[in-house]
Structures are given as structure tokens and as C-alpha cells.
């Protein structure tokens, strides 16, 4: 029986919140499992992602306090069981709130995480740990072998007190009961015990085994013994060794629980729950300027080429609206970004929308999110299809030129032209064969598709010059691809005699640096309103601020959605959407980036 007075005075112990404690063993974290743990009164959910990162999180969803340990681990995210909120591996940031699929979760919805370090086969964590997990020379010098952990309904110091009297046998003589024990204190929550026994009286040989016993303070009245042998026993001996220790520790557990029952029950530890930020504590306002009325589910997500993922989107509610070849969607991503993707669908096919998304190396989160976070079954908010890249279907010859992921609208156009019997050719430039996407659509188009793989910029220029050589009446060329390729194609087409009206292009993005330093007045002719556009604000923002509902999409002068007719005034065009002839005409402006060249513009709205 333990005399309670021999227990270490708790006031002399190191503050346990500043220490690293073992909270799990690596065996506790199998594939896609969520381990339910507790340390110093605080429950934690511990899960290993497919990238091997170990997450130690407070075990409650920030929304309604439900334990995350009853949720699901899909390898990259943990999903709460109650409302399907998803939290990302590593950051613990909320990536998706199914009740509001059109809204991005506030970036600051982030679970409380705790540090995690793997050492000696154990996962170490702590409330506010200083430095690194304890260094135990015997374990560093040896080859740690984790024993079975045992829960004990006793305070950690009662368990440690029992461990000081603990006995076990060295690996070489498990069945005897002859060992001498020596103890070395490691810290307030760990002790190393060495067991030495005579294994041969004839040769006077002794064997010894050392185990380090870490005591995890689960709560004021509960602990877990996590023991590690300093040497891995031979394979055939392992089960015997594990059972030997389990039996010995099993007795210790009973003794510790008996001793603890003599003590007055300690006050439970109280783990404080952090307040959420003021911004998160209020109900968010409904999203204004909602440009995404449609809800679609990702019915299929597949890799169609290296770094290019295809998405098939089906309606969650009403049938999908019709679209034109060349049309794009705004996809509102779960991370709050809005991105534009061209439809690859053939004509009349509104059973689903299919898009292709290239993982951009310099992605600011759009393609990253679609590649890594969005998955089959998710609901996305999208705009209705918009077409700023219309296809003429009265031409004698149509040349479609695609560079890289720019193939997507071209596939829609080609599929529209083919059944009409209009002559067309699709030239698809890509860096390598493995970058060629949508094989299933291209094979349907047959000989009309030519791929140009692995060409240098100069070779690409030469090939374009060959393709565009000889403009004929009612010929049209459509070009979609990276900026430099588009510029080259435009120059070549002009040189080859293609009139501006016959050359159609769609930029991925506007790479020109926008100069928004000017200030000017705009007059809205139809509503007789005058507004001031200060430096740093776009015409589009000023129109919206004054309550005018304005469509927009890319908001960088590439897509053409926010166009407004201009009645009077000189325009400082900064977009890449308008053709030179359209710029010269001076009767329309991309309100997201372009500005007045003078003091005033009169707009036809």
C-alpha cells in the first residue's frame, strides 16, 4: 500500500502545460483513422493524413462543438459528422461549409492545433510546450520498441510512484523472477527502469533490459503509461516480451488504482476553450452581388492529362441552362476565389457541364483548390454560362488554334462545327504528349485535329505562319492559349492578311500591369447620374457602390463580361479582351480595368 505522503508534492512539479507529453503511439494512427486522445483534461483528435503529416487538434468543431473524433478522415481533410464542415490537413482551416455552397468559409475559421512530433515511436504534443520532447540517452543510443500502452484511473504522480517499485524481467529471462531493478528519473512524468538478472550461474552471465516509462497526464485522475524498451527484441521473442510487460503493468495498474482510491478525488482539470474572433461570432451577411445562381455537384473528377483535371458538373436543382460554344463559367471555389473555365461540351449537351482545369505552378489558390480540395460529390456554385468568345457559324473555313489548356473552348467549337458540316481544323499545341487533354473528345473529332507537340517558341511561330498562310473570304481563326502565343498569332495573322474581324482570341489572363492612378468623372447617360472615380478604384467598383448591379467575371480585363457601351470620351484601354479595331472604335470599355484617358466618360447605362 502506498503512503500518500510519499507522493511528489504537485507544487514542486514543472508546469505540465509547458512540457511535451506522449499522446499516442504510431500504431494508434492507422490509415484514415481518427484517434481520440486526451491530455491535461483537453480532448484531442489526432489523425495522420496521406502525406504522413500528424495533426493534433482540439476535439471540437468550431461550429457547434461536436467532437471531431467522430468525423471522417479522408486522407487530406477531416470532415465533421454534424454538418459536413471540412478542415484541411496541416492548417486545420475550414475549406467547405455544405449549408452555403456558394460562400467561402471565412479564412479565419481555423481549428485549434497543437504541435506534434514523432519520437521513440510515440506522438508527442502539449498545451504550450517549450523546446523539444525529452531526450532519453538510452533510447537515442538504442532501437526503441514500443510496448502496449495502459490506461490507469489514477493521477500521474501515483502512477510514477508505483513505477518506482515496478518489476519486470530482462528479455533473456522472462520466466524467472530474479531481476534486480534500478531506476533513473527522467523528468516529472517519466522514469527509466533497468532490470538485470543472472542468466547463467555457471558462467556468471547477467543480462539486462531497460524500459522508459512515460506517464501521460490525461486528466487529474487518469493517466496512460506509454513504455518503450531501449532495444528491439528478436522477432520470435517480441510477443512474449510484450505479454510479459502487459502482465506486469496490468498489476501495476491495479495497485495504482487502489492507491488512488485512497486519495481524495482531485479537481478535474479544466481545459479552456478559446473564444472565436469577433468577426466569426456574428452571423455573416448574405453575399451581395451574387453572380452564381446555379448549384452543381461534381459528378466526376478525372485526370485527363498531366496536371490537367477534368470536372463533370451536374445540376443539383433545375436543369442546366443552355450555352454557346466558347462559353465559360464562373466557378465559385470553396476557398472564396472565383475562376473562369470554358465549357468543353458539344452542342445541346446540357446533361452536365465539363471543364478542364490546369494546375498552375503560380496558382494563387484557384487551380490548387480545384485540384486538391474539391472532390466528387461536392457542391459548387457557378454562374450561368457566358459567352465572350462567340463562334461564327457562317464561315467557309474555320481555323481553331489552341495552346495548352486553351484547348477547352476549341473543343466545344469543334464539336459545334462538325455536325454542321462546316470546314474546320483544330491545331493543338502542347509541350509534350502527356499534356494533351480530352483524348475522348479529340478522337471523336478525327482528322480535323492536329497536335503540335514540343515545339520551341520559334517553331511554334513558324507553324502558325504556315497554318495562317493565305486568308480567304469567310475564313475565321480562333485562338486561345498563353499570352505570348496569342501575340505571335495575332501578328502573324495580320501579316498574312487576315482582317481584324476574322481573328478571334481569348486570353487566359491579362498580364499587363493595371494603372489605376487616374481620377475622372463618369456620367451615366440613361440614369442621369454623375460619379467620381478616384485613384485605386475601378469604374466597376464605383458603379456597384452606387447600387448598380453589374455583371463581372474575371475582373482583370480578360473575359469581357463587364463591358459597357461608351457614348463620349477617350478611353484608356487596359484590357486584353478587345481587338485593336474594337479599341480604335472607342465605343466600349471593360469597366474592371480600363479608365478614362481624359477627365470624363459618358457611359450608355
Amino acid at each position: 500500500m502506498t503512503d500518500p505522503t510519499t507522493l511528489t508534492d504537485p507544487t514542486t512539479l514543472t508546469d505540465p502545460t509547458t512540457l511535451w507529453h506522449p499522446v499516442a503511439t504510431m500504431l494508434d494512427l492507422p490509415h484514415r483513422h481518427i484517434f481520440h486522445g486526451q491530455l491535461l483534461g483537453r480532448e484531442v483528435a489526432i489523425w495522420r493524413a496521406d502525406d504522413e503529416f500528424i495533426n493534433v487538434w482540439e476535439n471540437r468543431c468550431l461550429h457547434r462543438g461536436v467532437r471531431l473524433s467522430i468525423g471522417t478522415n479522408d486522407g487530406t481533410e477531416l470532415t465533421c459528422r454534424y454538418h459536413g464542415w471540412r478542415y484541411s490537413n496541416r492548417s486545420a482551416g475550414c475549406t467547405y461549409i455544405p449549408a452555403h455552397p456558394a460562400d467561402a468559409p471565412a479564412r479565419t475559421i481555423c481549428n485549434r492545433t497543437f504541435a506534434a512530433v514523432e519520437k521513440y515511436g510515440l506522438v508527442w504534443s502539449g498545451e504550450d510546450p517549450i523546446g523539444k520532447p525529452p531526450i532519453v540517452a538510452a533510447l537515442d543510443d538504442g532501437t526503441p520498441f514500443t510496448l502496449r500502452n495502459l490506461p490507469v484511473n489514477a493521477p500521474s504522480q501515483v502512477v510514477l510512484d508505483q513505477l518506482r517499485q515496478h518489476r519486470f524481467q530482462p528479455v533473456a529471462s522472462l520466466d524467472a523472477n530474479t531481476a534486480r531493478m534500478t531506476a533513473t528519473e527522467v523528468n516529472d512524468y517519466a522514469i527509466a527502469l533497468t532490470s538485470t538478472a543472472l542468466t547463467s550461474t555457471e558462467t556468471d552471465t547477467t543480462e539486462s533490459s531497460t524500459a522508459v516509462f512515460f506517464v501521460q497526464p490525461v486528466d487529474s485522475d487518469r493517466s496512460i503509461i506509454r513504455a518503450v524498451l531501449t532495444e528491439v527484441p528478436a522477432q520470435v521473442e517480441q510477443l512474449g516480451v510484450l505479454r510479459h510487460h502487459a502482465t506486469a503493468l496490468g498489476k501495476l495498474v491495479i495497485a495504482a488504482e487502489t492507491a488512488a482510491a485512497q486519495l481524495p478525488p482531485p479537481e478535474p482539470m479544466v481545459a479552456t476553450i478559446n473564444q472565436v474572433s469577433l468577426a466569426l461570432s456574428v452571423m455573416p451577411e448574405p453575399m451581395l452581388d451574387r453572380q452564381a445562381p446555379l448549384r452543381v455537384q461534381v459528378a466526376r473528377k478525372w485526370i485527363t492529362a498531366q496536371d490537367i483535371v477534368g470536372f463533370e458538373l451536374v445540376s443539383v436543382g433545375d436543369p442546366l441552362p443552355t450555352f454557346q460554344p466558347g462559353a465559360h463559367l464562373d466557378v465559385h471555389l470553396p476557398n472564396g476565389l472565383v475562376r473562369q473555365y470554358s465549357l468543353t461540351n458539344g452542342p445541346g449537351d446540357t446533361s452536365s457541364y465539363r471543364i478542364g482545369v490546369k494546375l498552375e505552378a503560380d496558382s494563387t489558390g484557384g487551380s490548387q483548390c480545384l485540384h486538391n480540395t474539391v472532390r466528387e460529390g461536392d457542391v459548387l456554385a457557378i454562374s450561368e454560362p457566358r459567352n465572350n468568345f462567340p463562334l461564327r457559324r457562317d464561315s467557309l473555313r474555320t481555323v481553331l488554334v489552341a495552346g495548352g489548356i486553351g484547348v477547352t473552348p476549341m473543343l466545344a467549337m469543334a464539336q459545334a462545327l462538325k455536325p454542321m458540316g462546316l470546314a474546320f481544323e483544330l491545331h493543338y499545341f502542347a509541350q509534350a504528349d502527356e499534356h494533351l487533354a480530352f483524348e475522348e473528345i479529340r478522337s471523336e473529332l478525327g482528322d480535323a485535329v492536329t497536335t503540335h507537340v514540343g515545339l520551341s517558341p520559334d517553331e511554334t511561330g513558324a507553324e502558325l505562319a504556315r497554318l495562317l498562310d493565305g486568308y480567304g473570304h469567310a475564313n475565321q481563326v480562333y485562338i486561345c492559349g498563353p499570352g505570348p502565343m496569342l501575340e505571335t498569332a495575332r501578328t502573324i495573322a495580320t501579316a498574312a492578311g487576315w482582317p481584324d474581324q476574322a481573328v478571334h482570341f481569348e486570353y487566359f489572363k491579362n498580364t499587363t500591369e493595371i494603372d489605376n492612378s487616374s481620377s475622372f468623372e463618369i456620367a451615366l447617360a440613361r440614369s442621369a447620374v454623375n460619379l467620381h472615380v478616384p485613384p485605386g478604384k475601378s469604374i466597376l467598383q464605383i458603379l456597384r457602390d452606387s447600387g448598380i448591379a453589374m455583371p463581372s467575371s474575371c475582373e482583370q480585363g480578360a473575359c469581357g463580361t463587364c463591358v459597357v457601351p461608351v457614348i463620349e470620351g477617350k478611353i484608356d484601354h487596359q484590357d486584353v479582351h478587345l481587338k485593336q479595331s474594337e479599341r480604335d472604335a472607342g465605343d466600349q470599355i471593360m469597366t474592371c480595368v480600363s479608365r478614362a484617358a481624359g477627365d470624363r466618360l459618358v457611359l450608355d447605362i
Binding site: 471540437r60 457547434r64 459536413g84 455544405p98 449549408a99 452555403h100 469577433l278 461570432s281 457542391v379
Partner: protein, 300 residues
């Protein structure tokens, strides 16, 4: 484990409420049985006239507590009760089926259970393929108001897609919902029925708090369903509540925090936010974590 049962209630707002003790038809003898309310053990039996009587078990004089028989249940009060219980006029309509679907004990506070009952967002995840199904996860805007006459909390214009909304459903439907909170620990749902376009089924949860963090949840229905057996209706309702129970018992803390900075609301939680404010305004302290004076200054 049951330490909280011993904690008696000092919240005058809750002490003065009518609380649903148990269904009238479960008081069947003149021999006393017991039940716990607000940490107090009560005894009940039928008197010589066959009427229910309820008293504090610890009361040597067995002074009867006030009782009310309403909506199939015996209600009682440990303080000074109001004259009347909230009205459910549908209960008296002649073609209604009034069914007690069961009483289930849950280790959670009453307001957490009420708030879960008010929540549509969990349908696809907790009541999968019955009250909701992915991808129909969106909770569209609805309206919330406090009735100026009755002080009930109402959520109106609620719409949710449901694969199998009730025992009478054979296919998915957009269900229209109204929610009403007429009592801190009782909540009523009005729901479209496939059987009658102009009237609604009534489904209620009447919680008897046995401790701050424990309830006995009575499930009451008043339905326009002439066909299904009581057993079928009970099975459906118990299945639903049985799915909610493990969620409720995994909420931490078990008491409902009224401080707005304790949890993270979204727009779908509009009625929950109103309910929490309403509890605060009523001054309820039992079963909740009241807003502390220090945090009140930052939440205003």
C-alpha cells in the same frame, strides 16, 4: 457520473415554467413511482379519483405540486407556474392523430437539444436519405422573428429537400418548415404533409431537464395521417431522434453557450442565434453557459 442530478435548480425563470413530467397514460397505478426534474426527485401516482398527483419525494407532507394535463402529458412546476401552457390549437382538430412517440434520455442540456431540433443543415449528414441527402445541402435564407404577442421565436419560409420526409412520403420533396420556440425547453415544428396542401403536420420536442446536462426528451406528434399505425409513426420518429442522440452527446460543452464568441454561426443558424439571444433576454441560466459580464462587453 450523475453528480449533476444532485445540483438543484436556482434559476427562477426555469423554476416557474411548466415542465413535461411524463405521458398521462404512463401513470397507471395508485402506487408511487418517481422521476427526476431539475435535480429534484418527484413522486407521482393516481389519486382515489384516478387523477394524477405529483409531489416532491423528499416532502414528508407530500404536498401536491401544481399540475396541468395538456397534449397527452402531465406537466408540473417547482415554482409559480403561469396560468396556461403555450397553445397548440392543432391538437384539438378532430381529424388529427396525436401520438406520443416515446421518451428518450439524452446526456445533453435541454437547450442543446432544442437548438438541434431547429437545425436544417444537419439533415443530409445525420439523417442521411431520410430528412436530407447530399448534394442537397444548401440551407437557403429564411426569416426569423419574435412574435410580439406571445414572445415565441419563429423561423418561417424554411425550405429543405427531403428524400423521405415522413412515414407518409414515398418520394423526395421540397419540404416547407416552420419552427416555433414557445418555451425555453420545448420546440415545435410545422411541416408540409403530402396529404393536405393547406395544413401542416406538427412535431414537437418537449424536454424534461433532469439535470443541467441531462434531459428526458418527449416526442409528440399531431399528424394528418389516417393510415400509418402508431408503431410506424413511433419507429420513424425514434429513428430520427436516435440519429440525433449520438451527435448531441458528442457536443462539448454540454451546456449551451450563450456568449456569441463561444461558437461560429453561419447564416443557416439564424434561428439558433435568435434562440440563444432570446434565452439570454429571458435571463435563463439553467442548462446554459450565460454570457459573462467580461465577455458581454466585447459582444455588443
Amino acid at each position: 457520473m450523475t453528480a449533476n442530478v444532485a445540483t438543484t435548480c436556482t434559476d427562477p425563470v426555469i423554476l416557474d415554467q411548466w415542465h413535461p413530467l411524463l405521458p398521462l397514460d404512463e401513470i397507471t397505478t395508485d402506487q408511487p413511482n418517481t422521476a427526476v426534474l431539475l435535480g429534484e426527485q418527484l413522486s407521482y401516482r393516481l389519486d382515489a379519483n384516478g387523477d394524477p398527483v405529483v409531489w416532491l419525494t423528499a416532502d414528508a407532507d407530500a404536498t401536491p405540486l401544481p399540475i396541468l394535463v395538456e397534449y397527452l402529458y402531465v406537466w408540473t412546476c417547482l415554482g409559480s407556474p403561469p396560468d396556461r401552457l403555450f397553445a397548440i390549437p392543432e391538437f384539438s382538430e378532430p381529424d388529427r392523430r396525436n401520438v406520443h412517440a416515446g421518451t428518450i434520455g439524452v446526456h445533453v442540456s435541454a437547450p442543446r437539444a432544442v437548438e438541434n431540433f431547429l437545425d436544417m443543415g444537419h439533415f443530409p449528414f445525420v439523417h442521411t436519405d431520410v430528412l436530407g441527402a447530399e448534394p442537397h445541402t444548401e440551407v437557403v435564407e429564411y426569416d426569423v422573428h419574435i412574435d410580439p404577442d406571445t414572445n415565441d421565436v419563429w423561423a418561417t419560409e424554411c425550405v429543405f429537400y427531403q428524400p423521405r420526409a415522413a412515414t407518409t412520403s414515398t418520394e423526395g420533396q421540397m419540404s416547407d418548415y416552420l419552427y416555433r420556440v414557445p418555451h425555453p425547453f420545448c420546440v415545435i415544428l410545422y411541416k408540409t404533409t403530402p396529404l393536405d396542401k393547406d395544413r401542416m403536420d406538427v412535431i414537437a420536442l418537449f424536454c424534461r431537464p433532469t439535470a443541467q446536462d441531462r434531459i428526458e426528451a418527449h416526442m409528440f406528434l399531431s399528424l394528418l395521417d389516417p393510415d400509418n399505425t402508431d408503431a410506424a409513426i413511433r419507429k420513424f420518429q425514434q429513428t430520427i431522434f436516435g440519429q440525433d442522440k449520438p451527435i448531441l452527446e458528442n457536443q462539448h460543452p454540454k451546456l449551451l453557450p450563450l456568449d456569441s464568441r463561444a461558437e461560429t454561426p453561419i447564416r443557416a443558424d439564424k434561428v439558433a442565434i435568435a434562440y440563444r439571444r432570446w434565452l439570454s433576454d429571458l435571463g435563463v441560466t439553467y442548462g446554459v453557459i450565460p454570457v459573462s459580464p467580461t465577455s458581454a462587453s466585447v459582444t455588443s
